[in-house]
Protein backbone atom coordinates (compact mmCIF):
# COMPACT_ATOMS: atom_id res chain seq x y z
CA UNK A 1 0.00 0.00 0.00
CA UNK A 2 1.58 3.25 -1.09
CA UNK A 3 -0.83 6.01 -0.29
CA UNK A 4 -3.83 6.95 1.76
CA UNK A 5 -6.23 6.59 -1.15
CA UNK A 6 -7.34 3.12 -0.05
CA UNK A 7 -8.13 4.16 3.52
CA UNK A 8 -11.65 3.88 4.80
CA UNK A 9 -13.19 7.17 5.95
CA UNK A 10 -13.10 5.97 9.55
CA UNK A 11 -9.41 5.03 9.40
CA UNK A 12 -8.64 8.33 7.71
CA UNK A 13 -10.41 10.23 10.52
CA UNK A 14 -8.68 8.18 13.20
CA UNK A 15 -5.30 8.72 11.60
CA UNK A 16 -5.90 12.41 11.09
CA UNK A 17 -6.49 13.35 14.71
CA UNK A 18 -3.72 11.05 15.87
CA UNK A 19 -1.25 12.72 13.52
CA UNK A 20 -2.34 16.19 14.70
CA UNK A 21 -1.96 15.13 18.34
CA UNK A 22 1.44 13.57 17.62
CA UNK A 23 2.57 16.71 15.84
CA UNK A 24 1.49 18.93 18.75
CA UNK A 25 3.06 16.60 21.30
CA UNK A 26 6.04 14.30 20.72
CA UNK A 27 6.74 15.56 17.20
CA UNK A 28 6.96 19.19 18.30
CA UNK A 29 9.11 18.43 21.33
CA UNK A 30 11.46 16.05 19.51
CA UNK A 31 12.03 18.55 16.70
CA UNK A 32 12.70 21.32 19.22
CA UNK A 33 15.13 19.06 21.09
CA UNK A 34 17.03 18.27 17.90
CA UNK A 35 17.28 21.97 17.02
CA UNK A 36 18.39 22.80 20.59
CA UNK A 37 21.12 20.17 20.56
CA UNK A 38 22.72 21.86 17.54
CA UNK A 39 22.06 25.40 18.75
CA UNK A 40 25.74 26.33 18.30
CA UNK A 41 25.55 25.60 14.56
CA UNK A 42 22.76 28.11 13.95
CA UNK A 43 22.51 30.37 12.00
CA UNK A 44 25.88 29.21 10.61
CA UNK A 45 27.08 26.77 9.33
CA UNK A 46 23.50 25.45 9.19
CA UNK A 47 22.22 28.22 6.97
CA UNK A 48 18.73 29.40 6.11
CA UNK A 49 19.39 28.29 2.53
CA UNK A 50 20.01 24.70 3.66
CA UNK A 51 16.98 24.69 5.93
CA UNK A 52 14.79 26.17 3.21
CA UNK A 53 16.07 23.41 0.94
CA UNK A 54 15.00 20.85 3.54
CA UNK A 55 11.56 22.47 3.74
CA UNK A 56 11.15 22.48 -0.04
CA UNK A 57 12.19 18.84 -0.31
CA UNK A 58 9.86 17.85 2.53
CA UNK A 59 6.98 19.65 0.81
CA UNK A 60 7.59 18.13 -2.59
CA UNK A 61 9.05 14.69 -1.80
CA UNK A 62 6.96 11.81 -3.02
CA UNK A 63 9.13 9.17 -1.40
CA UNK A 64 11.24 8.88 1.73
CA UNK A 65 14.22 8.30 -0.53
CA UNK A 66 13.95 11.91 -1.76
CA UNK A 67 14.43 13.06 1.83
CA UNK A 68 17.33 10.67 2.41
CA UNK A 69 19.03 11.80 -0.79
CA UNK A 70 18.84 15.41 0.37
CA UNK A 71 20.19 14.85 3.89
CA UNK A 72 22.92 12.49 2.66
CA UNK A 73 23.93 14.99 0.01
CA UNK A 74 24.17 17.77 2.63
CA UNK A 75 26.19 15.51 4.94
CA UNK A 76 28.49 14.49 2.07
CA UNK A 77 29.11 18.10 1.03
CA UNK A 78 29.92 19.08 4.63
CA UNK A 79 32.34 16.16 4.99
CA UNK A 80 34.15 17.03 1.76
CA UNK A 81 34.60 20.55 3.10
CA UNK A 82 35.97 19.12 6.34
CA UNK A 83 33.06 20.52 8.36
CA UNK A 84 32.41 17.47 10.53
CA UNK A 85 30.02 19.20 12.92
CA UNK A 86 27.80 20.15 10.03
CA UNK A 87 28.04 16.59 8.65
CA UNK A 88 26.97 15.29 12.07
CA UNK A 89 24.03 17.69 12.08
CA UNK A 90 22.73 16.37 8.76
CA UNK A 91 23.33 12.79 9.84
CA UNK A 92 21.33 13.51 13.00
CA UNK A 93 18.51 15.01 10.91
CA UNK A 94 18.49 11.94 8.68
CA UNK A 95 18.44 9.62 11.69
CA UNK A 96 15.57 11.58 13.25
CA UNK A 97 13.55 11.51 10.02
CA UNK A 98 14.17 7.78 9.50
CA UNK A 99 13.22 7.20 13.14
CA UNK A 100 9.77 8.62 12.49
CA UNK A 101 8.90 5.24 11.04
CA UNK A 102 8.40 4.04 14.63
CA UNK A 103 5.75 6.59 15.67
CA UNK A 104 4.18 6.18 12.22
CA UNK A 105 3.81 2.46 12.96
CA UNK A 106 2.35 3.17 16.40
CA UNK A 107 -0.15 5.66 15.00
CA UNK A 108 -1.08 3.27 12.21
CA UNK A 109 -1.75 0.39 14.63
CA UNK A 110 -3.57 2.62 17.15
CA UNK A 111 -5.83 3.90 14.38
CA UNK A 112 -6.68 0.33 13.41
CA UNK A 113 -4.59 0.13 10.24
CA UNK A 114 -3.76 -3.31 8.93
CA UNK A 115 -0.16 -4.40 8.39
CA UNK A 116 -1.09 -7.20 6.01
CA UNK A 117 -0.41 -5.39 2.76
CA UNK A 118 2.65 -3.47 3.89
CA UNK A 119 6.10 -4.26 2.48
CA UNK A 120 8.45 -6.29 4.67
CA UNK A 121 10.11 -4.33 7.50
CA UNK A 122 7.39 -1.69 7.31
CA UNK A 123 4.96 -1.03 10.12
CA UNK A 124 3.11 1.84 8.44
CA UNK A 125 2.58 3.11 4.89
CA UNK A 126 5.38 5.36 3.64
CA UNK A 127 2.81 8.07 3.04
CA UNK A 128 2.12 8.25 6.78
CA UNK A 129 5.84 8.28 7.58
CA UNK A 130 6.26 11.09 5.05
CA UNK A 131 3.44 13.05 6.65
CA UNK A 132 5.21 12.87 10.01
CA UNK A 133 8.43 13.95 8.30
CA UNK A 134 6.69 17.08 7.00
CA UNK A 135 5.32 17.90 10.44
CA UNK A 136 8.73 17.35 12.03
CA UNK A 137 10.52 19.49 9.47
CA UNK A 138 8.05 22.35 9.98
CA UNK A 139 8.76 22.35 13.73
CA UNK A 140 12.50 21.93 13.23
CA UNK A 141 12.65 24.94 10.91
CA UNK A 142 10.50 27.18 13.09
CA UNK A 143 12.58 26.44 16.16
CA UNK A 144 15.82 26.80 14.22
CA UNK A 145 14.76 30.26 13.02
CA UNK A 146 13.66 31.29 16.49
CA UNK A 147 16.63 30.06 18.55
CA UNK A 148 19.41 32.36 17.32
CA UNK A 149 17.14 35.37 17.95
CA UNK A 150 16.63 34.31 21.58
CA UNK A 151 20.30 35.06 22.15
CA UNK A 152 19.83 38.75 21.21
Amino acid sequence: MNGHSALTPQLRRELNWRVLAWSDGPGYHEANRLAESYRHLLPKPVTNAQLNGLRNIAASASTLKDMRDFTQNQAGKAERRGDFELRDYWNAVEKALNGLGDPAGELWRAAGGSTENLPRNKTAPDSLHLRLVREFVQHLLAHSAFMPMQQD
Partner: protein
Amino acid sequence: MSENTQPASNLSSEQQQALARLAIQKAVAQKSDELYEKYYEKDSSSSPAAKLLTAFRDAEKGMTQVRNLENIAYSTGKLSDIYDFLKKQMGRPGDLGAQWRREGVGQQLLNDLTALRKDAKEIADQVRGKYAAGTGDDTERQVHLMLCREYVKHVAAHYQYASKVRE
Protein backbone atom coordinates in the same frame (compact mmCIF):
# COMPACT_ATOMS: atom_id res chain seq x y z
CA MET B 1 -29.44 25.79 29.01
CA SER B 2 -30.30 24.05 32.26
CA GLU B 3 -27.89 21.57 33.82
CA ASN B 4 -28.66 17.94 33.18
CA THR B 5 -29.70 16.32 36.46
CA GLN B 6 -29.59 12.68 35.33
CA PRO B 7 -26.59 10.65 36.52
CA ALA B 8 -24.19 10.39 33.57
CA SER B 9 -24.17 6.61 33.87
CA ASN B 10 -27.83 6.59 32.74
CA LEU B 11 -26.98 8.48 29.57
CA SER B 12 -26.03 6.98 26.25
CA SER B 13 -22.60 7.63 24.76
CA GLU B 14 -24.14 10.06 22.24
CA GLN B 15 -25.92 11.98 25.01
CA GLN B 16 -22.71 12.19 27.01
CA GLN B 17 -20.85 13.45 23.95
CA ALA B 18 -23.44 16.17 23.40
CA LEU B 19 -23.39 17.20 27.06
CA ALA B 20 -19.59 17.11 27.18
CA ARG B 21 -19.51 19.43 24.14
CA LEU B 22 -21.85 21.86 25.87
CA ALA B 23 -19.88 21.72 29.11
CA ILE B 24 -16.66 22.41 27.23
CA GLN B 25 -18.19 25.34 25.36
CA LYS B 26 -19.43 26.84 28.63
CA ALA B 27 -16.09 26.38 30.41
CA VAL B 28 -14.17 27.82 27.45
CA ALA B 29 -16.49 30.84 27.33
CA GLN B 30 -15.94 31.43 31.06
CA LYS B 31 -12.18 31.16 30.68
CA SER B 32 -12.31 33.48 27.68
CA ASP B 33 -14.07 36.13 29.77
CA GLU B 34 -11.45 35.68 32.48
CA LEU B 35 -8.71 36.25 29.90
CA TYR B 36 -10.49 39.38 28.73
CA GLU B 37 -10.79 40.71 32.28
CA LYS B 38 -7.17 39.90 33.04
CA TYR B 39 -5.79 41.81 30.09
CA TYR B 40 -8.30 44.32 28.84
CA GLU B 41 -10.84 45.33 31.44
CA LYS B 42 -8.69 47.30 33.87
CA ASP B 43 -5.21 48.44 32.91
CA SER B 44 -4.60 47.10 29.44
CA SER B 45 -1.18 48.71 29.01
CA SER B 46 0.68 45.47 29.75
CA SER B 47 -1.59 43.41 27.52
CA PRO B 48 -0.13 41.63 24.50
CA ALA B 49 -2.24 43.82 22.22
CA ALA B 50 -0.84 47.01 23.76
CA LYS B 51 2.69 45.65 23.45
CA LEU B 52 2.06 44.74 19.82
CA LEU B 53 0.87 48.27 19.20
CA THR B 54 4.09 49.63 20.69
CA ALA B 55 6.22 47.10 18.84
CA PHE B 56 4.63 47.77 15.46
CA ARG B 57 4.82 51.53 15.10
CA ASP B 58 3.09 51.18 11.75
CA ALA B 59 -0.35 50.08 13.00
CA GLU B 60 -1.47 48.80 9.59
CA LYS B 61 1.57 46.56 9.28
CA GLY B 62 0.90 45.31 12.77
CA MET B 63 -2.73 44.66 11.92
CA THR B 64 -1.66 42.50 8.98
CA GLN B 65 0.50 40.44 11.32
CA VAL B 66 -2.26 40.13 13.90
CA ARG B 67 -4.71 39.06 11.19
CA ASN B 68 -2.24 36.44 10.00
CA LEU B 69 -2.01 35.10 13.52
CA GLU B 70 -5.80 35.08 13.85
CA ASN B 71 -6.23 33.35 10.49
CA ILE B 72 -3.80 30.61 11.46
CA ALA B 73 -5.43 30.12 14.86
CA TYR B 74 -8.86 29.74 13.29
CA SER B 75 -7.91 27.62 10.30
CA THR B 76 -5.54 25.08 11.82
CA GLY B 77 -6.21 21.90 13.74
CA LYS B 78 -2.80 22.08 15.40
CA LEU B 79 -1.53 24.21 18.25
CA SER B 80 1.98 23.83 16.91
CA ASP B 81 1.03 25.72 13.73
CA ILE B 82 0.32 28.76 15.92
CA TYR B 83 3.56 28.32 17.90
CA ASP B 84 5.58 27.80 14.72
CA PHE B 85 4.08 30.94 13.17
CA LEU B 86 5.16 33.02 16.16
CA LYS B 87 8.63 31.47 16.21
CA LYS B 88 9.12 32.05 12.49
CA GLN B 89 8.02 35.67 12.78
CA MET B 90 10.35 36.27 15.74
CA GLY B 91 13.15 34.56 13.84
CA ARG B 92 12.79 36.66 10.71
CA PRO B 93 15.72 38.87 9.79
CA GLY B 94 15.14 42.59 9.35
CA ASP B 95 12.46 44.92 10.67
CA LEU B 96 9.63 42.45 10.82
CA GLY B 97 11.48 40.02 13.08
CA ALA B 98 12.75 42.89 15.23
CA GLN B 99 9.20 44.18 15.68
CA TRP B 100 7.97 40.76 16.78
CA ARG B 101 10.80 40.60 19.31
CA ARG B 102 10.40 44.17 20.56
CA GLU B 103 8.91 44.46 24.06
CA GLY B 104 9.18 40.67 24.21
CA VAL B 105 5.73 40.56 22.65
CA GLY B 106 6.20 37.51 20.46
CA GLN B 107 7.68 35.57 23.34
CA GLN B 108 4.84 36.65 25.65
CA LEU B 109 2.26 35.47 23.14
CA LEU B 110 4.07 32.14 22.79
CA ASN B 111 4.34 31.73 26.58
CA ASP B 112 0.73 32.70 27.21
CA LEU B 113 -0.63 30.39 24.53
CA THR B 114 1.49 27.48 25.74
CA ALA B 115 0.44 28.12 29.34
CA LEU B 116 -3.23 27.73 28.42
CA ARG B 117 -2.53 23.99 28.43
CA LYS B 118 -2.98 24.02 32.21
CA ASP B 119 -6.46 25.56 31.90
CA ALA B 120 -7.30 23.15 29.10
CA LYS B 121 -6.33 20.21 31.30
CA GLU B 122 -8.51 21.49 34.14
CA ILE B 123 -11.49 21.88 31.83
CA ALA B 124 -10.95 18.49 30.19
CA ASP B 125 -10.56 16.78 33.58
CA GLN B 126 -13.74 18.40 34.91
CA VAL B 127 -15.76 17.39 31.89
CA ARG B 128 -14.26 13.90 31.85
CA GLY B 129 -15.24 13.52 35.51
CA LYS B 130 -18.85 14.20 34.62
CA TYR B 131 -19.18 12.67 31.18
CA ALA B 132 -16.41 10.13 30.77
CA ALA B 133 -17.92 8.59 27.64
CA GLY B 134 -18.27 12.03 26.09
CA THR B 135 -14.57 12.79 26.06
CA GLY B 136 -11.61 11.20 24.30
CA ASP B 137 -7.82 11.13 24.19
CA ASP B 138 -7.74 14.33 22.17
CA THR B 139 -10.11 16.40 24.32
CA GLU B 140 -7.47 18.31 26.25
CA ARG B 141 -5.66 19.33 23.06
CA GLN B 142 -8.92 20.38 21.42
CA VAL B 143 -9.84 22.51 24.44
CA HIS B 144 -6.37 24.04 24.38
CA LEU B 145 -6.85 25.00 20.75
CA MET B 146 -10.22 26.58 21.57
CA LEU B 147 -8.64 28.61 24.37
CA CYS B 148 -5.83 29.76 22.07
CA ARG B 149 -8.41 30.97 19.55
CA GLU B 150 -10.21 32.93 22.27
CA TYR B 151 -6.94 34.46 23.43
CA VAL B 152 -5.94 35.46 19.90
CA LYS B 153 -9.42 36.84 19.24
CA HIS B 154 -9.08 39.22 22.21
CA VAL B 155 -5.62 40.29 21.05
CA ALA B 156 -6.88 41.05 17.55
CA ALA B 157 -9.98 42.93 18.73
CA HIS B 158 -8.08 45.04 21.22
CA TYR B 159 -5.28 45.74 18.78
CA GLN B 160 -7.72 47.02 16.18
CA TYR B 161 -9.58 49.14 18.75
CA ALA B 162 -6.46 50.56 20.38
CA SER B 163 -4.82 51.41 17.06
CA LYS B 164 -7.82 53.51 16.05
CA VAL B 165 -8.03 55.21 19.46
CA ARG B 166 -4.35 56.11 19.17
CA GLU B 167 -4.81 57.86 15.80
